[in-house]
């Protein structure tokens, strides 16, 4: 299959701390990749570099044969890489519906025509197409019951879903999920991942997700990349990687210890 996203020797250090020491991953189109590793292993740093929030000290990021290393998050988003966040990034004072409508408003401006040709015509909240799209999205992620509730008042699990729903609004070609189930109760986590995966399949896109929860990883990620201290410890079929004893000792061991506290991490 064709490689859609390819990172070559990404390096990033914060002062003395090396968060990424040459990360190279090639992601095929329509594949699903799980990124695992203890906290500080460099997963989120990697995601932040790919999505332009951090500029790598060295290395390249190639998206569909195009170098996006130096681009801003908004340009990368416009090219078709969208992400969700470990700490959901929502418009807290606005309702679920409004959050989605704003997302759609921006999407429509980027997808069709210039700012000015659109904005002065388009009043998202009044535009039936937009409303329909928003409701479909709420439908898909079971958000309808929270429609008019302000985002800051939502339960953590729902915030995660809304965060992901907003990422999917822009119909990305690559979707990156940063700990989609952290801070979510054990009985909810599979439900959430199922919803996400359905949504993804429905319009077909490549998925990379950072995850601490091995059950989730084994169940949803055919391919797994294990991070350790800014390096890639192992990369390959889920089964192989998870059975690798280095991974077992350095990564999974560490994670098991964390499992219980996972929910706190997301609040940190």
């Amino acid at each position: 299959m064709a490689v859609i996203l390819n990172t070559k020797g990404l390096r990033k250090s914060f002062g003395a701390v090396t968060a990424a020491a040459g990360i190279s991953i090639a992601v095929e189109e329509d594949s699903v990749v799980g990124l695992i590793g203890t906290n500080g292993a460099g997963k989120t740093t990697f995601v932040n570099m790919v999505t332009g929030y951090l500029k790598p000290d060295a290395g390249d990021i190639i998206f569909k044969d195009r170098d996006i290393t130096e681009l801003h998050p908004r340009d990368i988003t416009r090219l078709g890489i969208c992400r969700s966040f470990q700490i959901p990034q929502l418009y807290d004072s606005l309702s679920v519906f409004e959050n989605l409508v704003i997302a759609l408003g921006i999407r429509d401006r980027n997808v069709h025509g210039s700012v000015f040709s659109r904005t002065f015509k388009l009043v998202p909240a009044a535009n039936p197409l937009v409303v329909a799209a928003a409701e479909q999205s709420m439908q898909r992620f079971g958000l309808l019951e929270y429609r008019e509730r302000a985002a800051r008042l939502l339960p953590e699990g729902v915030r995660k879903l809304l965060d992901i729903a907003m990422a999917l609004i822009s119909e990305p070609e690559v979707l990156i999920l940063d700990e989609p189930t952290s801070g979510v109760s054990a009985d909810e986590k599979f439900a959430i991942m199922d919803m996400v995966m359905d949504a993804v399949r429905s319009h077909g896109c490549t998925v990379m997700f950072v995850e601490h929860d091995m059950d989730i990883v084994t169940r949803y990620a055919p391919r797994v990349v294990a991070f350790y201290e800014g390096r890639i410890l192992a990369d390959g079929k889920a089964a192989d990687v998870l059975s690798d004893e280095q991974v077992q000792s350095y990564v999974i061991g560490g994670l098991r210890a964390l499992q219980t506290g996972a929910s706190d991490i997301s609040h940190a």
Binding site: N48, Y53, F85, Q86, I87, Q89, A268
Partner: protein, 298 residues
Amino acid sequence: MNEFLAVLMDGLIYSSWLFVIALGLTLIYGVMKILNMAHGSFYALGAYAAASMVGYWLNHGHAPMASYGILVLAAVLVGLIAGPLIERGLLRFMYGRDEMVLLLVTYALFLILEDVIKLIWGVDPYFIPEPYSLLGTMDIASLTYPYYSFILIGVAVLAGGAVALVLQYTRQGKLLLAVIHDREVSLAMGINVSRFYLVTFTVGTALAAIGGALTAPTVSVVPGMGVEVIVLAFAVVVIGGLGSLEGAALGALIVGLVRSAAVHYLPQVELFCIYSVMALVLIFRPKGLFAAAEVRKI
């Protein structure tokens, strides 16, 4: 050369005056996140209190030397009365509200205090010139300066140093730093935040009042004397970086020296040199000179 020395001296004196006032402002902002519009009114209160107390003292023929003590005493009294009164009586009901709302509350406070001062002291000017000339003068760069001006510099250094030491080396100071750094966490850690707010506001008020009290002998104490001070202090604090002690010091120095240089070499621009400096600093250091850069976790 002489002129240059004069610029330095005048700048230094002006800076010290500014610093004492700005210190309270930056302290209050750092801890309580309130940009206190009423700060100038506390300055005026200090000046009025000092003027009437010292005036009384001298009119009753007591030792003039003691008037310096009374100046400070007056300011401290203002701090101890006005500070807690306003913090407990009004501000504490406003915590958690938006920074701008708090700014407006203090603006309303400023309006009220302007008239309260008028109701207490009337509109006639008060003079207590004695302390200014009492200590005699000395010549620097063929210019005459009263020793009193150096007292001002001393007080500025003392005040700044004291605050710095308290923050660095006392337990309370460290706790206060914790509060400054993160209110929620400090609360969670069981720090009595509201007490710190009370103390901080009182100290800040007292500092403004001291600024006013020490200015009283050199000016005619009149209504509205606090208005111009507010924006000056704002400028200093913003240039330095809000809530930063060393920032306020550096800001005061910059403003003071720039202004006195302007006065000596280019009097026409005195009016807006301060704002130009403020604009320039913000253009090149968007958060002021001593701003802590915060990285947001996502």
